[in-house]
């Protein structure tokens, strides 16, 4: 009996070790591929042709879609940033999704809204009732739709899609600030390759702690909260390198809901946003790619790492937990819905690379980690494994994790170096170590809860994140220079 138990525990230990090693190996390959691409892009800096894109009449107009529910803390900053984009032709479609705070009142006052007759351009199903449609009378290309909330961001986005007029749609969260040239940069692939590019995403960075002024990022700064710092590092790894690597492999699965640009006709063709999915952004990207691949239509989903959208990230464990549980639940829904694509060569790198990776490491990772960890602890208690061995494995896993983070920090510093202050850089380095003390384990726990929610088919619940708004800064003349300019 003891022998069988010992064999089982040993097997579980080996599975955990293999899982950790394989995860780090794949991630390291992705990070290196991403770093290579980012490094190459650095060599082209200054000759990308952004001024030509801005001046070109061929540049397609963009509808920026902003779903908002109780966003009074930052909505005016978000709209200022969206309307202040350096872009030749755009409109902003804000959907006030049943806000109970002053979101609409603030916007109505700032932009002197006037009610107009709804003028739909598409007829995607929307569950919430459209209450009224308003247009700015200040000269800003702003349309505001008021609707009742059904508790789903996707419903608000579908309402916005129904009123968007332009060939490209950019989905932006209501707690996000676009850099002045963000739209110009992310739209470049559409301008250059209009026949094939169907979606493009940019980098999302945490705005918490940064100095902003009326929607303009003045100086990126690292928050003093470790829970935020660790997320900054996580976003760096994930966006700057991970997604760049996936995009290079033609296997980009996720374009963040906080900032993504899509061809409107293709989004309408697949029926808009899935109303029941919690992974709206990833769900849309996968659905588009599945649809186009099945119909053998050439397409490209690209990632533009120099494009930046600043967003608020959770500042408390409770909110972070809810967010990550929801993400994991959404991932579970997505993988189940598109299960036929997993491992299927018909769907190219998405089918054989990205989806299996997300299934094995993102969705099932916490389960394997939990079982493996329990096996190691039991083995230690029963004396089946020497403490030195367990300790060595743990140290190696942590060292590999820190190596990934250090690579991300190095690439950030050598390419975009958004954080000008040395202390912010030190903070990031500290976060790379601190992350493994608690964040990693807490994150696994949240993901596990999300997986359970997905397996038990729990009703999806979209919970709004409490907002604190963006940090203000004295608007002295010398400060009014946007970061990155």
């Amino acid at each position: 009996m003891r022998e069988t138990l010992g064999d089982a525990l040993l097997l579980a230990g080996w599975v955990l070790t293999a899982h950790v090693a394989l995860f780090h190996l794949v991630t390291l390959l992705l990070v290196l591929a991403g770093a290579r691409r980012v490094w190459r892009n650095r060599n082209w800096r200054g000759v990308e042709g952004h001024d030509e894109t801005f001046a070109s009449p061929l540049t397609p107009a963009v509808s920026i879609l902003v779903p908002a529910h109780d966003e009074e803390a930052g909505i005016l900053d978000t709209l200022s940033a969206a309307l202040g984009q350096k872009y030749p032709a755009l409109e902003v479609v804000l959907v006030d999704d049943g806000s109970t705070d002053r979101t609409f009142a603030l916007v109505a006052e700032r932009y002197a809204l006037r009610e107009v007759t709804p003028r739909p351009t598409a007829d995607l199903p929307v569950d919430g009732e459209i209450l009224s449609v308003h247009r700015a009378t200040t000269g800003d290309p702003l349309l505001v739709i008021r609707k009742t909330s059904v508790g789903r961001r996707s419903d608000a986005l579908n309402a916005a899609l129904n009123h968007a007029r332009h060939p490209l749609v950019c989905m932006v969260d209501a707690d996000s600030l676009l850099e002045t040239e963000a739209l110009l940069q992310v739209s470049r692939p559409f301008v250059e390759d209009p026949d094939n590019v169907v979606a493009a995403g940019g980098v999302i960075r945490a705005a918490n702690g940064a100095l902003t002024d009326r929607g303009t990022m003045l100086e990126p700064r690292l928050s003093r909260r470790w829970v935020v710092r660790v997320q900054v590092l996580e976003y760096l790894r994930s966006f700057l390198l991970g997604r760049t690597g996936w995009a290079d492999a033609q296997a980009l699965l996720i374009i963040s809901g906080a900032f993504g640009l899509f061809r409107r006709d293709v989004v309408l063709e697949v029926g808009g946003m899935d109303p029941l999915s919690l992974a709206e952004d990833a769900e849309l990207v996968v659905t588009i790619q599945e649809h186009l691949r099945r119909n053998r239509r050439p397409h490209r989903v690209v990632f533009v790492p120099q494009t930046v959208c600043w967003t608020e990230v959770p500042e408390s464990w409770q909110v972070l937990g809810r967010q990550r549980t929801r993400w994991s639940h959404g991932l579970g829904q997505l993988l189940w819905k598109h299960r036929r694509m997993i491992g299927n060569p018909r769907y190219g790198p998405i089918g054989v690379l990205a989806l299996p990776f997300f299934l094995l490491f993102e969705l099932l990772g916490p389960v394997i980690e939990l079982i493996g960890l329990a096996a190691v602890v039991t083995s230690l208690v029963l004396g089946l494994v020497e403490p030195a061995v367990a300790g060595a494995v743990l140290v190696l896993a942590i060292a590999l994790g820190i190596l990934l983070s250090a690579t991300a920090i190095a690439v950030e510093e050598l390419t975009y170096h958004r954080y000008g202050r040395g202390r912010d850089l030190l903070g990031l380095m500290g976060a790379a170590v601190v992350e493994h003390l608690w964040f990693r384990w807490a994150h696994s726990w949240y993901r596990l809860r999300g997986l359970v929610a997905a397996l038990t088919r729990r009703t999806p619940v979209w919970t709004a994140m409490p907002r604190v708004g963006f940090s203000g800064a004295p608007a002295s003349a010398e400060r009014l220079v946007p970061a990155g300019s």
Partner: protein, 354 residues
């Protein structure tokens, strides 16, 4: 697993050492970069006034031949913003400093970014001397270099490159149409004859792009060829779509009949909507019946485009919209919304000569 501590510890130590080395390098790079930026800013501040004295004729290019390399960045930043003699002065300075010759040599460099940057630099100088080299790069193995060469050809202003640029749309190593389009627009009106030729006899992508560009230029002489392309039911959909858009931009009422036929009779909703939009731009009252007929289309895009077009034709179109808005049926909401969104006052007069 009991035999593992040794190798594991060794690996852990190696990885940890790597991490420490990486983080130390990052710190060093941060400090070095900050210093470098300050040094470059100081040099730029020092050299920029010298460039202005050169442009004012108070300095010669030879006098700046040995200035620090950061001067080239200052000049290359200014170059696209200047025209005429000022541009020539800066071009001479780059030649005197050997920048142009070095870029010419870099066209065959191994690294794609070197070839691409060299192409862009040669394009920025506006010289046609390197056109054949840039045309060769249109077939480069790197897509980034092909794009850079395409943009550079647009900057040179050499219309002899138009056929090569259009051909680059369909070669084995094709250049995306957006980049070719921007380059052709950069070449300006001298490229129009070649574009008219391509509209008649080019490949489908070349015909579609030519049609779009002729429209953007508002090229009235191309109206007949564009109308023929629109009317040709056998023509590729992309060509007909581009022709419809172009006719609207040109604003030629001669095309009203063809556009009205397409608005009512075409099968493809996107083409019908594009034709309706073009009719709205032209603003010819003769198109009101066709647009009103389009308001009963099953496709929402077509109805919306027809409604918007009618709203831009005063007073006939708006009168018809009011009548449609008062009725029941799918046309009514679109009619009311278009009237609500239409600016007060009269719409534009007919854009082209009858």
């Amino acid at each position: 697993m009991t035999d593992l501590p040794g190798p594991l510890l060794l690996t852990s130590t190696g990885v940890t050492g790597l991490v420490v080395l990486l983080l130390l390098s990052v710190g060093g790079a941060h400090v070095a970069r900050r210093r470098g930026e300050r040094r470059d800013a100081a040099r730029r501040a020092e050299l920029t006034p010298l460039v202005y004295t050169l442009l004012d004729g108070e300095q010669t290019a030879e006098a700046l031949a040995d200035a620090p390399a950061v001067l080239d960045d200052v000049v290359l930043h200014l170059l696209p913003q200047l025209r005429g003699s000022d541009r020539q002065v800066l071009r001479d300075l780059l030649v005197a400093r050997g920048v142009v010759d070095r870029a010419s040599e870099q066209l065959s460099a191994r690294a794609p970014w070197r070839r691409g940057r060299a192409a862009m630099l040669l394009g920025a100088t506006g010289s046609t001397r390197h056109t054949p080299d840039l045309v060769t790069l249109l077939e480069d193995r790197s897509p980034d270099v092909r794009s850079a060469a395409t943009r550079a050809l647009g900057k040179t202003g050499d219309v002899a490159a138009v056929p090569d640029l259009l051909a680059a749309l369909t070669t084995g190593r094709a250049v995306p149409s957006g980049i070719v389009g921007m380059a052709l627009l950069d070449l300006g009106t001298p490229a129009l004859p070649a574009l008219r030729t391509a509209l008649d006899s080019g490949t489908a992508p070349a015909r579609a792009l030519s049609a779009s560009l002729l429209g953007l230029h508002g090229d009235l002489p191309a109206t007949a060829a564009l109308t023929a392309a629109l009317d040709d039911a056998g023509a590729p959909a992309e060509v007909r779509l581009a022709a419809a858009g172009a006719l609207g931009r040109i604003g030629a009422p001669q095309a009203t009949g063809a556009l009205a036929r397409v608005t009512v009779l075409a099968v493809e909703p996107a083409l019908r909507a594009a034709a309706a939009e073009a009719l709205g731009r032209i603003g010819d009252p003769d198109s009101v019946p066709a647009l009103a007929a389009g308001m009963s289309a099953a496709d929402l895009r077509v109805r919306t485009a027809c409604a918007d077009a009618l709203a831009s034709i005063t007073p006939e179109g708006r009168d018809r919209l009011r009548a449609l808005g008062a009725l029941d049926g799918p046309a009514a909401p679109a009619a009311r919304a278009a009237l609500d969104a239409a600016p007060l006052g009269s719409a534009r007069p007919l854009a082209g000569a009858r």
